[in-house]
């Protein structure tokens, strides 16, 4: 299995997103570096709109992720409810 990852700018907007990702993906590992947080996960990582909305207390459009996104690795699939990164092998 290969690792997928996603990284965000370390800031207040990213904090609830990162919390939601870690809660929904128990196999994910968080790395904090200067100004940046990176989440690695074996095989697959799913980001759920609902989980972010719960923590944020407002409606959230998954495309808002782009604002603080730094980088990704893996094949992406995005719809209204989920943003998924995965390797297909």
């Amino acid at each position: 299995m290969s690792t997928v990852f996603i990284a965000f700018q370390a800031n207040e907007e990213s904090r609830p997103i990162v919390e939601a990702v870690l809660a929904d993906n128990p196999h994910a590992v968080l790395h904090e570096s200067p100004a940046m947080v990176k989440i690695d996960a074996e095989g697959k990582l799913v980001i759920k709109r609902e989980s972010i909305e719960e923590r944020l207390g407002r409606d959230f459009d998954l495309q808002e992720l782009q604002i603080n996104l730094i980088t990704i690795s893996g094949h992406l699939d995005e719809d209204d409810d989920e943003f998924t990164l995965a390797w297909k092998n």
Binding site: M36, D61, E64, Q66, G74, H75, E78, N89
Partner: protein, 517 residues
Amino acid sequence: MDMQATKKKVGLKEKYAHMTRGLGWETTYQPMNKVFPYAEFEGIKIHDWDKWEDPFRLTMDAYWKYQAEKERKLYAVLDAFAQNNGHLGVTDARYINALKLFLTGISPLEYVAHRGFAAAGRNFPGVGPRVACLMQSLDEVRHAQTQIHALSNYNKHYNGFHDFKHMIERVWYLSVPKSFFDDAFSAGPFEWMIAIGFSFEYVLTNLLFVPFMSGAAYNGDMGTVTVGFSAQSDEARHMTLGLECIKFMLEQDPDNLPIVQKWIDKWAWRGTRVLTLVGMMMDYMLPKRVMSWKEAWEIYFEQNGGALFNDLARYGIKVPECLSQTAIDKEHISHQAWATFYQYGGASDFHTWMPTDEEMDWLSAKYPNTFDKYYRARFTHWRDEAEKGKRFYNGTLPMLCQVCQIPMLFTEPSDPTQICYRESEYQGEKYHTCSDGCKHIFDDEPEKYIQAWLPVHQIYQGNCFNEGVDPTAPGFDPLAEVLKWYHVEHGRDNLDFEGSEDQKNFAAWRGLATKNV
């Protein structure tokens, strides 16, 4: 600011279909293949352009909304940086030299990327890639502009930031990144996508922005960090476009495989060579280091690139040929490049120095197999000589690689004490390259690479002096004349950091900021 998520009338997938494919049409006054002549020019066979889908499903309306938000956030930071004299907060004024290299060597490439993606968007008949290329083209001009704005704060106070636009066309080491993009832009649209969209954006951009920008944060430069990360936030989309393009070509026709493989091999090597400059910045130009070049290479190229190539294996793609050499080179190239810039510190638009003892200890810990064995003694010797007033400047000009345009500074993969070069013949003339990788690229398209504008050859041919300069006049000083033609002011923009105007000003201004006088 909290973004307002608007209640949707149509779902993302449906909206994407309407706002991309829904906008396309078949031409009738002229046949499609005449309107899009470059789509077939490279031998890539496409049967159904509608099979291309952007997995972000980003449409222009959403694009403007999120990009505007990114800009608002970025410019708030840049204003704060300027208002608070943020430049005095950096760890050490040596760091500012990395920014000079960034502005002169990288920002102009953003602008070429803007033009290249506009051209690719024009040349692809499919609507999906056209919209994605349009967005990337706009992103790239934003990157050029925001980098120039951010670094103009430094131009108010420090030397070397004054004429990047002029320098990219002329200065010897800047021809390395420039020729990389020129090579890609003068190819067809599919090769451009592999060169820039895939190799540069997917495989290599993480190495440029992530560790380097984290390094800027470590060195107290929040303005540059924010610009870098703001640009990088677009990069996730660019990487996805590059990867989608590869998958699309491979899925459309089995005949595309050998062409795509050849481009992957070529551009993985070209990209690796050009990133030597970044490796040098990370290991030598950041006073406070976040990770070594070798560590960044292992995370972002070997592990992440490895995952990618494992995945592409199902299409028959093999890992790029150059991998066995890059595994050796990662232990050497940053040291070899910095040694070269130190020797030619009289001819560059930034300052150079030799690492301190403490920095050398860091380098030997990070490079246990190579630093002490091959580089420490040379660097210590140069430092000692400089202390005795005999600073070593190399007065000769190096031979350049006909392909990557880097001076012959790399060593043989089998012998790190021997300079590596290869020779090819074409139409009765000899051409030299730095490596098997570059020789291979040259031999495949010699008619392209014999046209290279090589700065050293051009100096020897007398093409790099201002008008009216007479190279036969008594006392003619070629280096002084070349520097004038570069717009590099001798004694101010070049030479050692130690004793430079930058060093003195930074120390004086920082003193003013922390003491009452």
